[in-house]
């Protein structure tokens, strides 16, 4: 059987990759994708906990469902914002959109 910690390490790895992407991608849609990866990483660890600690009554899966829902909402609003950005700036590179400064 696969021990719990392997799932958690996988989750950590996915999370880190996602975070790296969110920190570095210039394309706003790329950043959103990286965020989705991070959500997925969290879900993996939630579901793993749910399977390995069954006395918790599927709590992990419930949380994963809520996270998926929130991720969907996030994607919809995020992409709407990206479209708005594109309309106003004619670019979606986040490092070129920096009007909100001193």
């Amino acid at each position: 059987m696969v021990p719990l910690s392997h799932y958690l390490i996988l989750s950590a790895l996915l999370f880190t990759i996602g975070m790296f992407g969110a920190l570095t991608r210039r394309n706003a849609i790329g950043v959103l994708m990286a965020l989705e990866l991070m959500f997925n990483a969290i879900n993996v660890s939630f579901v793993a906990f749910s399977r390995y600690l069954p006395q918790q009554m599927l709590q992990g899966q419930i949380f994963a469902i809520f996270i998926i829902t929130v991720a969907a909402a996030e994607a919809a609003v995020g992409l709407a914002i990206v479209l708005g950005l594109y309309r106003n700036f004619k670019t979606i590179n986040v490092d070129e959109i920096n009007l909100m400064k001193w």
């Binding site: 696969v2 021990p3 994708m33």
Partner: protein, 168 residues
């Protein structure tokens, strides 16, 4: 090495590989397609974890919903010929260091906190029904809140994405 283990390591490698592609690929459409594969890898992991309903939901929502949205947004904002240029900003180095450090710390914490815990045997039961029951009893309040959130997100997305009257 049992079949389960083999499948786990296979899918883990697959998922990590796809995720790296998502973050590193030059062409944003390739990123999106790699993302689909990463989602599938995660769904497979869910099945390994006896969460079939979640696996199906994962595919339905992430692949059927979010990826499509992403692809739409890509089509509306970039061209197939728009290649070249940097894809990363100038903080790649420090980001990599931070990410690696965080990963190291998480692995450390993990190994310290969860010694090789193996899963208890579960009776083969239909998780879906229990999930549904939980959602409508114990977690009914969060459930309602999330539905409200979705409504708000929908309204917000429509307001943000529609063109203002009079503009082009």
């Amino acid at each position: 090495m049992t079949v389960t283990q083999a499948v786990f390591y296979l899918m883990a490698t697959f998922t990590v590989g796809a995720s790296l592609l998502v973050v590193l690929a030059r062409n944003i459409v390739h990123c999106a397609i790699a993302l689909v594969f990463a989602f599938f890898g995660v769904a497979a992991l869910f099945i390994l974890l006896d969460a079939e309903f979640l696996a199906a939901t994962q595919v339905l929502l992430y692949v059927g919903g979010i990826t499509i949205l992403l692809l739409f947004a890509i089509m509306l904002t970039s061209r197939i010929s728009a290649r070249g240029g940097k894809i990363m900003n100038e903080q790649v180095g420090i980001s990599a260091v931070v990410a690696l450090a965080l990963f190291g710390l998480m692995v450390y914490a993990n190994l310290k906190g969860f010694p090789a815990l193996v899963p208890p045997m579960l009776a083969a039961s239909d998780n879906t029904a229990s999930l549904g029951r939980l959602l409508l009893t114990t977690y009914v309040l969060p459930f309602e809140v999330v539905s409200l959130l979705l409504l708000a997100a929908m309204v917000g997305a429509i307001v943000l994405a529609r063109r203002e009257q009079g503009k082009d």
